[in-house]
C-alpha cells in the first residue's frame, strides 16, 4: 500500500483530501434537519456511502464488472428509493471506477484500445436506448414498472451468477481456435505482459461480428437497469471473443466508462442524478478504482468470482421477492 501511494501520488492527494474534507464536513456541519434526517444523519449517510463505494469499487474493478452491478441491485433490493434515482446513480457508480482505471489499464497495456473502440459504438447506442426505455417505463407504469424492473433484474442477476459459475477457471487464457475472415480483417489482436506469470502473452479476438451484436444488447440492458453493462462485457469478450480474462476485465472497465458517459447525460439534465447522493459514491469509485486497477495487475482474477457469485445470488433473491410482492400484492418473508 505504501509503495502504491509513492508510485501514485495523486491517490495520496485524493485520499488526503477526502479525509480532510469529510473531517471538516463532520466537525463544522451546518446542514439543518429535514424530514427524517438531521444534519448529522445526512453526514453519516454520505460518509457511509463513500466507504462502501470504495470497497465495492475494488472488488468491481478486479472482476471487471463495474460497481453498478453491485450498487444497483443492492439498492433496489434493500431500499425504497425511486428506481430512476437508483439507476442514474448506478450509472455513475458503474462509470467512475472504469473512468479512473482507464489510465493505469491503458498505460500498462492491459486494456486494448482497438477492442474498446470496436465495442464502444454498439454499447453506447444500446445504453442510450436502454436509458430511454427505463425513463419511459417509469413515467408510464409507476410502481408497477418498478416491480417489473426489480423482477427482471433479479432474473438477470441469476443469469449473470450462472455465467460466472459456468465460465470456470479455464477461460483465463482462452485459445482462439478458428479465426473468421472478418475477425482477421479487424485485427483485434495484441499482446500484454502477464505480471502474475512474469512473461508476455499474445491474443487474437475471434467471433467479432457476433460480439458486436451482443454488445448492443449488453448496452441496452446496462442503460435500462443502471447496471452499466460490465457484468456482460467480460463474458462476451472472454467466452465469445476469446480474449484473455485480464484483458477482458480491463477493457470492460474502459468500455463501461465510455458507454455510460453517453447514457448518463439525459439523467443529469432531467435532475434524476442528484449530487447529494451520487457524490460520495462517485468519489469512492474513483479512489477504489485506482486501488483496484493497481491490484488487478498482480492478482489472478478468478477468486473474485466467488465473492461476486454469492452477492449476486443473495441480491437476486431479494429483488425477485420484492418484484413479486408489488405485482401480486403479497408478502414474502425473504431476508
Amino acid at each position: 500500500m505504501q509503495d502504491l501511494m509513492k508510485k501514485v501520488p495523486e491517490l495520496s492527494l485524493l485520499i488526503g483530501l477526502s479525509i480532510v474534507g469529510y473531517f471538516v464536513m463532520g466537525a463544522f456541519n451546518q446542514v439543518g434537519e429535514a424530514g427524517a434526517l438531521t444534519g448529522g444523519g445526512a453526514f453519516v449517510l454520505v460518509l457511509a456511502s463513500f466507504i462502501l463505494s470504495v470497497m465495492i469499487a475494488i472488488v468491481a474493478v478486479i472482476a471487471g464488472v463495474g460497481g453498478g452491478v453491485l450498487f444497483t441491485p443492492i439498492m433496489m433490493a434493500f431500499t425504497t428509493m425511486d428506481t430512476l434515482i437508483i439507476r442514474s446513480t448506478g450509472l455513475v457508480v458503474a462509470m467512475f471506477s472504469g473512468l479512473v482505471s482507464s489510465g493505469p489499464f491503458m498505460r500498462k497495456g492491459l486494456a486494448d484500445v482497438k477492442i474498446v473502440l470496436y465495442c464502444a459504438i454498439p454499447i453506447i447506442a444500446g445504453a442510450m436506448l436502454g436509458s430511454y426505455a427505463a425513463i419511459a417505463l417509469a413515467e408510464v407504469m409507476g410502481a408497477q414498472g418498478d416491480a417489473i424492473v426489480r423482477l427482471l433484474l433479479g432474473l438477470i442477476l441469476v443469469f449473470i451468477a450462472i455465467l460466472f459459475i459456468v465460465g470456470g477457471s479455464n477461460t483465463e487464457y482462452p485459445e482462439p481456435g478458428h479465426v473468421s475472415r472478418f475477425s482477421e480483417w479487424m485485427g483485434l489482436k495484441g499482446s500484454y505482459y502477464e505480471e502474475s506469470l512474469g512473461r508476455p502473452m499474445s491474443y487474437q479476438a475471434t467471433r467479432v461480428g457476433i460480439g458486436g451484436l451482443l454488445f448492443l444488447l449488453v448496452g441496452f440492458t446496462g442503460g435500462f437497469f443502471g447496471l452499466g453493462g460490465g457484468w456482460a462485457v467480460v463474458p462476451v469478450l472472454n467466452l465469445v471473443m476469446t480474449t484473455p480474462l485480464k484483458i477482458s476485465a480491463a477493457s470492460s472497465g474502459v468500455l463501461l466508462a465510455m458507454g455510460n458517459s453517453a447514457a448518463i447525460w439525459p439523467y443529469i439534465k432531467v435532475g434524476a442524478l442528484i449530487a447529494a447522493l451520487a457524490a460520495p459514491w462517485m468519489l469512492g469509485q474513483v479512489i477504489g478504482g485506482i486501488l483496484g486497477a493497481h491490484i488487478l495487475a498482480r492478482v489472478r482474477a478468478n477468486f473474485i468470482r466467488y465473492i461476486l457469485i454469492v452477492l449476486l445470488f443473495l441480491t437476486s433473491l431479494k429483488l425477485m421477492s420484492r418484484g413479486v410482492e408489488t405485482l401480486l400484492g403479497i408478502d414474502i418473508p425473504v431476508l
Binding site: L13, L14, L17, M25, F28, N29, Q30, V31, E33, A34, G35, A36, L37, A42, T79, D82, L84, I85, V92, M95, L99, S102, G103, F105, M106, K108, A111, D112, V113, A120, I121, Y132, I135, A136, E139, Y173, E175, S191, R199, P200, M201, S202, T242, V254, S261, I264, W265, P266, K269, V270, G271, A272, I274, A275, A276, L277, A279, M282, L283, V286
Partner: protein, 150 residues
C-alpha cells in the same frame, strides 16, 4: 492465446492511442473528483442552503419520485438543461459540476485518441470509430438526444 516467443521476455509496446485516451480520462477524472470533494465541503458548511442535502437525501430515502424530490427546493426541477452552471456558487451546483466534468472528459479523450490513431499509428478505421463514439456522446451532452421526462 499463446506465450510470445521472445527470449528476453520483454514487455510489449503499449499503443500510444490507448495511452492518450487513458491519460486524458485519468487526469480529468482526478480533477473532477477534487471539485466534487470541494463541492461537498461547501454544501455542508453553508448554513441554511437553499438546496439542502438533508432535504434531498431524506426525500430520496423516503422513496419520492424525481419531481417530488426537487419540489420546493432552491432550484426548479431541471428540464433538459445543464442546470448546475446556474447554481455553480452553491455546494450542490459545484458538486454536480464536478460529477458532470468527469462524465464530459470522455469526449476530449476520444478525440485525443482519434488524433493519435490518424496521425501517429496509421489506423484510420479505429480513428473513425473513436470519432463516431465522440459524436454520439456530444449529441447526448448537448441535448440532441433527449429523454421523455419533462
Amino acid at each position: 492465446m499463446s506465450e510470445q516467443q521472445n527470449p528476453k521476455e520483454s514487455r510489449p509496446e503499449i499503443p500510444k492511442s490507448g495511452v492518450a485516451y487513458g491519460e486524458t480520462i485519468y487526469w480529468g477524472t482526478i480533477a473532477s473528483a477534487v471539485i466534487t470533494i470541494l463541492g461537498q465541503v461547501v454544501t455542508f458548511l453553508t448554513p441554511g442552503s437553499a438546496i439542502s442535502p438533508s432535504v434531498l437525501l431524506s426525500r430520496i430515502w423516503e422513496g419520492k419520485e424525481v419531481a417530488a424530490i426537487w419540489e420546493g427546493v432552491g432550484v426548479a426541477r431541471p428540464a433538459n438543461e445543464h442546470w448546475y452552471f446556474a447554481q455553480i456558487t452553491t455546494g450542490e451546483g459545484l458538486t454536480m459540476f464536478g460529477i458532470a466534468l468527469g462524465v464530459f472528459v470522455v469526449i476530449p479523450a476520444l478525440l485525443a485518441s482519434a488524433w493519435v490513431l490518424f496521425t501517429r499509428e496509421g489506423r484510420p478505421l479505429f480513428g473513425v470509430l473513436a470519432i463516431i463514439a465522440a459524436l454520439i456522446t456530444i449529441a447526448s451532452f448537448v441535448g440532441v438526444i433527449q429523454m421523455p421526462v419533462g
